[in-house]
């Protein structure tokens, strides 16, 4: 258990009340360990995005517990939650969500500065993070001057800067061509292998397959899982 960066226990999310209420998630249990990437697959409306925003503390579930690095979000104050989001969580979105008036380096520094880092320390950490995604030479470029793949790499650097250990990615390859998408997934995988944990929401099986475990959601429930061990058996069967 101690190795779990994230745990969801019996998470239920309902919208509306009484007979007209709709369950977006029903009793979802999920754990993400250090060094583990879990992909969530499911049709539109299956609850993928709701699950991600609950895991990231952006949304409070109707019932159930979310535990990030041992901290129960239900009992955290608004201030603690904000701090947790700044220090422990990194988000990667389909459309990159970089601030256009800031350079690549400034975008990566931003969460650290919000967290009260001194400018010099924030700069150093951001430079390291940019270097880890191979973009040290682009630190002074503005998002508009970068390709889609480069922007997403900046977003990954921003998601992991300052030792964040939980990466939440929502269709991170959705706006990229297949070759660039693969490069971004390879990079995300490398970050996870270095000790982060992550959730990847995607409808593309090709990208989901970079995960250690693939969880299938249908109508807000986990209906099945595909594990690395399934892949291991497959590999041993074919060799």
């Amino acid at each position: 258990m101690s190795d779990d960066i994230l745990r969801l226990v019996g998470v239920t999310q309902q919208y509306g009340e009484g007979e007209t209420s709709v369950s977006a998630l029903s009793g979802v249990d999920l754990a993400v360990a250090r060094g583990e990437l879990v992909a969530i697959m499911g049709a539109s409306g299956s609850g993928k995005s709701t699950l991600l925003s609950i895991a990231g503390g952006l949304q409070t579930p109707t019932s159930g517990e979310v535990v990030v690095e041992g901290r129960f979000l239900s009992t955290a104050s608004a201030r603690d939650l904000a701090q947790l989001r700044r220090r422990s969580l990194g988000f990667v979105f389909q459309d990159f969500n970089l601030i256009p008036t800031l350079t690549a380096l400034e975008n990566v520094m931003l969460p650290l500065e919000l967290d009260g880092f001194r400018a010099r320390a924030a700069r150093r950490a951001a430079q390291e993070a940019l270097a880890s995604v191979g973009l040290e030479a682009k630190d002074a470029s503005y998002p508009d001057d970068l390709s889609g793949g480069q922007q997403q790499r900046v977003a990954i650097a921003r998601a992991v800067v300052g030792g964040r250990r939980l990466i939440l990615a929502d269709e991170p390859t959705g706006a990229l061509d297949s070759i660039t998408g693969e490069a971004v997934m390879r990079m995300l995988r490398t970050r996870i292998d270095q000790g982060a944990g992550g959730i990847l929401v995607t409808h593309e099986a090709r990208h989901a397959a970079w995960a250690d475990r693939i969880v299938f959601l249908r109508d807000g429930r986990i209906v099945d899982e595909s594990r690395r061990t399934d892949a291991d058996e497959l590999l041993s069967g074919t060799r």
Partner: protein
């Protein structure tokens, strides 16, 4: 078919002896389609019979160098120009299985679909892992291997997309899913009778 023409296309680059030809084929396909030397010689014999290659020089080690003929060159050019023909018709095992499953009362097709999806995704995971273990497609031989693995990855992905599509289609139109009990009508033996004969 593609092995025969691939070997011929390699010979179009210059004469090779049998082992060399096998090594060239392996190198260009990332060893994803292992051939034994017997297959190589059988193929060369057939190519020679068809006038597409001929035996050339023999080196001091006794290697027989096979070389392509003009007819062989024309065959290679035609092969590269022509699309690969896939088997047509609806003989896909999975499509038939799902079509039948959708007509069986009491069978949850969504479960049948999910079982397949889990297997296809696990296959994708193993392909991705094999690819991730490599150093990225930089060298020519890594690239050859990646091309073949990518074709398997995209085929598996297409299957998963088709499964998603099928599942949604069935879910959106449950009234159209035919739950067919066995028909009580006896099928006629033999050929359908002519209308005249019935009248």
């Amino acid at each position: 078919m593609s092995v025969r023409l691939s070997l011929l296309a390699i010979l179009d680059q210059g004469p090779c002896y049998g082992y060399q030809l096998r090594a060239e084929f392996d190198r260009r396909t990332g060893s994803t389609w292992p051939l034994n030397v017997g297959q190589i010689y059988n193929t060369l014999d057939r190519l020679e019979r068809d006038g597409l290659v001929e035996k050339g020089a023999i080196d001091e080690q006794g290697h027989v160098y096979w070389q392509i003929t003009d007819a062989g060159r024309a065959e290679v050019a035609a092969w590269l120009r022509a699309p690969v023909e896939r088997s047509s018709g609806t003989r896909d095992e999975l499509a038939i299985k799902l079509a039948v499953a959708a007509t069986l009362p009491g069978v949850d097709v969504a479960e049948v679909i999910q079982a397949q999806r889990r297997a296809s995704v696990a296959q994708l995971q193993s392909l991705n892992r094999a690819k991730y273990a490599g150093n990225g497609p930089d060298g020519p031989e890594e690239l050859a291997w990646s091309l073949v693995v990518d074709s398997m990855i995209f085929a598996a992905e297409a299957e998963v997309r088709w499964l998603d599509h099928t599942e949604q289609r069935l879910a959106q139109h449950p009234q159209h899913a035919m739950a067919l009990a066995l028909s009580t009508e006896k099928p006629k033996r033999g050929r359908p009778a002519k209308t005249e004969a019935r009248a």
